[in-house]
């Protein structure tokens, strides 16, 4: 895992974490810092299948 990224995500304010951070052409909408932080920390959050797939694809690339 990219610990430097995790460190910065944790430093971000709640408002900053709620802003879009990643987009894709898979039709999944935006991923926020909060989405990434939840996934990196193993928190269970409901998402659409497409968005879940995108978040997991992003996090996988941080491993």
């Amino acid at each position: 895992m990219d610990n430097k990224l995790l460190e910065q995500l944790k430093r971000m304010s709640p408002e900053e974490r709620s802003r879009p951070m990643v987009q894709s052409l898979g039709g999944a909408g935006s991923v926020t810092a909060e989405d990434l932080l939840n996934e990196l920390q193993g928190k269970a959050v409901e998402h659409s299948d497409k968005k879940k797939k995108l978040i997991q694809a992003v996090v996988k690339k941080l491993a």
Binding site: Q8, V22, L25, G27
Partner: protein, 266 residues
């Protein structure tokens, strides 16, 4: 033979990703115009399947630039309408049109997610001159504090694909264009590494986006593929190599058989 002076540019705009960020592909259209191509420009509500097929029939473009949401077997146009498709299509799509033979003899750029897996090889096997696409999510980092055209994060993600298409329009060989595009990705990654090194006390939002840009640019670089006569090009995990593949179109084979130079079958 397709008209090598004609470039078809397709850019839908119906959701945040397409309305806001596909603007960052416009330098390709502008570059084509600047070097003398006849550009057929289908944007927004003009980027509909019928108009795309009609433009291909009417103008016979040698170069087709498609952008939009997609999956392994499908690329869409305006309003998520299927435009080029092979079975089974995407799970939530029902309006299927199989028109990939329309891309025969043309260079096709699939600016979309996952299309490099199945659709790009299918277009090539249907007679496509060469095709480029991405085999996984095509992602980019955004900072909505900026206008898209000023967003340094988003801009860096569209730079390399735009560069590839510009090289192809310049007549650069597909393998050279691919290699130079991988190099371009590496330069972009290095620039974010340098920014982090030069700004150790930057704000958390910028630093997080910079770290993420390094990872996701490497991702986009490593899932880019191009397929043409005699080649299937993919970057290596280091992003510096290309794996040429010898095309073995043997009689009696179903479709085409590809074999890496190393002898490993795909």
């Amino acid at each position: 033979m397709a008209d090598s002076s004609v470039f078809l540019y397709v850019k839908p705009d119906y959701d945040e990703a397409s309305i806001v960020y596909l603007k960052l592909t416009e330098p390709v259209r502008d570059y084509a115009q600047s070097i003398g191509y006849t550009v057929i420009d289908l944007e927004a509500n003009d980027a509909m399947p019928y108009n795309i097929y009609n433009a291909i029939t009417q103008y016979d473009p040698a170069y087709v630039f498609l952008s939009g949401h997609g999956c392994e077997t499908l690329i869409t146009a305006q309003n998520y309408e299927d435009v080029f498709w092979i079975k089974p299509g995407c799970e939530d799509h029902t309006q299927h049109t199989d028109m990939i033979s329309a891309l025969s003899g043309r260079t096709t750029f699939l600016m979309s997610c996952y299309c490099g897996q199945d659709l790009a090889p299918a277009i090539f096997n249907a007679g496509g001159e060469n095709v480029v696409g991405w085999t996984d999510e095509y992602t980019w980092v955004v900072d909505t504090d900026y206008e898209p055209i000023d967003d340094p994060f988003a801009l860096s993600f569209f730079d390399a694909p735009n560069y590839y298409m510009s090289l192809i329009l310049d007549g650069v060989d597909i393998s050279q264009a691919f290699k130079q595009t991988v190099d371009r990705y590496n330069i972009l990654i290095a620039s974010w590494s340098k920014w982090i090194k030069d700004n150790p006390n930057g704000n958390a939002s910028d630093l997080a986006r910079s770290h993420l840009s390094i990872s996701l640019l490497a991702h986009d670089r490593d899932v880019m593929m191009a397929i043409g006569q005699g080649y299937r090009l993919e970057s290596t995990s280091t992003g510096t190599g290309i794996n040429p593949i010898i095309l073995l179109a043997g009689a009696g084979l179903m479709g085409s058989l590809y074999m890496q130079v190393s002898g490993k079958e795909e």
